[in-house]
Structures are given as C-alpha cells and as structure tokens.
C-alpha cells in the first residue's frame, strides 16, 4: 500500500537518543522484532554491527560490478573499433585486432567506470547532496557527531504507527525521545 504524500507538519518519525552502542543495538533489535524494517541509525563512530542489525541491503556492489563490466566493454570496443574496423593500419606486421596491447586501456577503463559508479552510485543511493533533513530540527541531534547514538523510525516504514512507536521507545528509557516533523 502506497502512503499518501506527506504534508508540512505531518509526523516524519520518532528519534530516540542512547548513551552507547550496546543500548542502540538493543533498541534496533527490539524494533526489528516489532516488525519495523526501514530504520535509520546515527552514530558518532562507525559501528559495523549496526549496519547488519538494521538489515539494510545495498545494491551498490552489483552496480559497481556492472560499471566495471561496462568500462571493460567500452574500453576494449573503442580500441577494437578504431584499429580493426574504422581505420585499420598495418603496424609492424601485427594483426589489426592486437588484443594484448588493448588490455592496458581496457583495465584502466574498467577501474575508472567502476570507481565513478561507486562514488556517484553511493551519493545517489544515499540521496546526497541533501542540505537539510528533518532530524536536524531536534536540538539533541547535534550530539550524534559527539558521543550519542540515535535511532529513527521514519514515517515511510510500512507499519509506521505513531502511538506504537512512542510506546515502544518509551519502554526502552532513551535519554531523549522526540517526534520529528516534515518541514
């Protein structure tokens, strides 16, 4: 079921603040057990377990593979077309399709396409650049880059229900609990 387009002032989600990563991980597990799937976590340092606990999957690896294969095909195809089809020239008696000498450029193009796909794919999938996000309106959120751990259950989660989320979070006794609104 598709959710209606949110209006300004509608609930964006609930943001809970925790003192350490263990409490955050516990909260993530509790919410996942309750059925929430689209949570976001904000931590001041990288915590590998969080990514796994959230159950996020990223299509980036497949995109990069596709980018690499495209780069290889473009790189090889370009040289093949130039030297064997479009303007064949006899150089030192070598065959027009001198594939060993094409490999270097093919390799470089593979890396170039894969790397560009990785950078721009990452930005696109993260929805970046994004100058403002509703969670920035919560005053405590500044601490996410210092020493606090935050968990957001957003409105676009399929089973998002304001009352239920608030109840669930309350039972965990977070340091702070804020409802976030659409600007």
């Amino acid at each position: 079921m598709k959710k209606p387009k949110p209006q300004s002032g509608d609930s964006f989600g609930y943001l809970a603040e925790f003192p350490d990563q263990h409490k955050l991980l516990d909260a993530i597990h509790t919410c996942r057990d309750a059925g929430y799937r689209k949570m976001e976590a904000y931590t001041p340092l990288p915590v590998h377990e969080v990514w796994e606990a959230l159950g996020h999957t990223s299509p980036l690896a497949k995109l990069v593979l596709g980018g690499g294969i495209t780069g290889a095909l473009v790189g090889f195809g370009m040289q093949y077309y130039a030297s064997a089809v479009h303007y064949p020239i006899n150089i030192g008696g070598r065959p027009f399709n001198s594939w060993p000498s094409f490999i270097v450029i093919t390799f470089e193009m593979t890396i170039l396409f894969a790397a560009l796909t990785a950078v721009f794919g990452m930005l696109a999938l993260n929805g970046l650049p994004r100058p403002h996000h509703p969670v920035f309106d919560v005053p405590e959120f500044d601490n996410a880059s210092r020493d606090r751990f935050f968990l957001l259950v957003p409105w676009y989660d399929p089973i998002y229900d304001r009352g239920h989320v608030e109840q669930l979070f309350d039972a965990m006794h977070p340091l702070s609990l804020n409802e976030v609104f659409h600007p």
Binding site: A61, L65, G92, P100, S101, V104
Partner: protein
Amino acid sequence: MSDQTPLSTNLGRLQRASFVLAAVGLGGLVLAAALSPENTEQFYRSYLMAFLYWLAPALGSLAIVMLHNMTGGAWGFAIRRQLEAAMRNVPLMALLFVPILIGGIHPLYEWSHADVVAADPILQGKALYLNRTFFTVRAIGYFCVWIFLALSIVRLSARYDRTLSVAALRKLKVVSGLGLGTYVLTMSFAAFDWGMSLEPHWFSTIYGLLFVIGQGLATLCFAVLVASRIARHEPFSRWFAKSHFHDLGNLIMAFVMLWAYVSFSQFLIIWQANLPEETPWYLHRTGHGWQTVAILLVAFHFVIPFLILLNRRTKRNMRVLATIAAAILVARYVEIFWLIAPAFQHGGGLSVHWMDIVAPLSVGALWIGAFVRNLRGRPLVSLQDGKLLGQLEEASHG
C-alpha cells in the same frame, strides 16, 4: 584443556606420517636417480621445481610477517604463529639446496658446460656472473640473509611475548622494514640464478618479482588452509573471526590480481617488442601442448579465483575460501612447472615425468613434518599480545 587434546594428537600423527612419507618418497627418488644417468638428470630437474615450490611458503611467511610488523592488522595476529613456524623452515630449505650445489649445477645449467660457453659469445659475456663459484657464493649469501632475518624475527617476537618490551617491538619493526627490501632484492636475484639462468640467453627484470609475488600468494593460501584446519578445534574456533578470513580473502585476491598484472606486463613488453632474443621463451611455453598449461594457469591462477573472491560472502565463508586456497596452491606448482620445465625440453612438447609429481610431494612431506614440529613447539596464540586480546574479545562478540 581436554578440548585441546584432539588437535595436538592430530598434529602428532600428522608429523609422524609426514616424516615417514618423506623418507619413503625421497629414498625412492634417490634410488631411482642412481639407476641411470637420464634418471639423475631428471631427478635434479624435478627436485629443483620441488625446491622452488616449497621455498615459497617458508620465505613468503618471512615476507608476510615482516609486512605485518610494519602495517599491523587483526588478520596477521590470527595467523602469526603459523607463519613463524613456517619461516623456521628457512634453514631446512638451505639444507635442501645443498644437493643442487653439490651435484645439480652441471646437469641443470648450460652455462656451467665449458664446451657450450666456448662456442657461445653471449655466454662468454655473461661468464663473469654465471659461473660455478659465484653461483655458489651467491646462494650461500642469500640463505645467510634469509636465515638471519627469519631467526631474528622469531627470536624478537618470542622476546616480546615474554617481556612485552617496547624495545623488542621497535627492533622488530626496524628489522622488518630493512628486511622487506632486502628480501625482495635477494629473492629477485635468487630467481634470476635458479630459474632464469636455465635459459641463459633470455632475460626479464620482472621475472624475480613473479617469484616474490608467487611466494606471498602461496603463503596466504597456505595460512588459510592451516587456519581452517585449526579453527575446527575448540577453543580455536572462537579465536578465528569471520573478519579474519574476509581480510585474508581480500589479500589473496589482491595477490592474484598482482600476479596477473605482473605476468601480463612481462608478456606485453616482450610481445610488443617482438625481439628474436626474447620471444623464444614464450614460444616454447605456448606451443607443443604447453598452451594448454598456459590456459589452465590463466583460468585457475587468475580468472576463477578472482571471480569467486569478488563476492563478499565467499571471502567470509571459511570452507569456500579454503577450497580456493587449495586450488591456488595446486596452480602455484603448475606455474613453477610452466616456468621451469620447458627450459629442459629445448622447444619439445609437453611431457610430465613421474618424478615431477613425486618430488614435490616428498619434499612437501618433509616440509610439512618440520612445520608441524615447529608449530607444536609454541602456543598457537599469544595471549600476552594486547592487540590480540582486544581481537579475542571482538571475536567472541560477533
């Protein structure tokens, strides 16, 4: 402590079985070699390949440990004691080179034949470097350097475990940093001497690096195999984390790519230049049946491991990674065979003598027996290592 008994019993059994197999295999080879002059010649050829193959995990361990002393990383602490046990086999490799120095130079190396050199102006020009005396002196020199490095690092690492002295750690870093450069140079020259000079007209500066990279790759694969065996036993199963195998898988993939890169660089340069003194080396190795070996190498030494290791999940799966490591270790011998054996056939077709199979297995049995003996001599994990302790906690969490 009762959990540990099965592993130590297994290791004891493996050590005894290895030494028995080595005695039978090497005894049989020597007997067969004594039967006829052709057999003697074949014995030295097969023995040289077996020696070069088993030199790899011993010297490679030295290199990887030196590298790890400079860079750190959890993966290295997990396999450190195995690598130290392997590099304590460097003196054994020196001992195993003695037969080649005593009886093998003449049957193996054309440049040691006075009549051939007399008729060959190119070999006369190289005689200052390629002669029996200097060859022997260089070999002794290489082994002195390697044994010194291996024993210093094992000793300093043991002292650090005992005392946690910062001075020992700093010394370890100095020896490792200087040793790493020395290793790459000495191993390059050793490869020129022992492998490249089999065809003394041909030359390639990349050739030495091929051996260096091969040794690093063989060592990582060997370490993964041993770790996957040890990890089946309590309490070690808790000490190897998925992330260690992930890191080792990434390193294996990097070395596989580096091998392909360097091998192809040598091929491309020679193919482009198309010079008569360089191309025969590849012509011998891509014709008369040898092209099959070359294609197998491209497939099993690069394409297949590379494609499988691209996937994150396969690197974190100990069993899959161990299978790939075993396959690469077989491919390593095929590469050495492909590099060395065509030199003896002077453009003839591909043929495999039974000694080409039995020699690496027999030398390998001796090597494994000594390795297990070294491994049993010290605890498999250093509990005193502060960094390792942190890693143990991490492993028990996830």
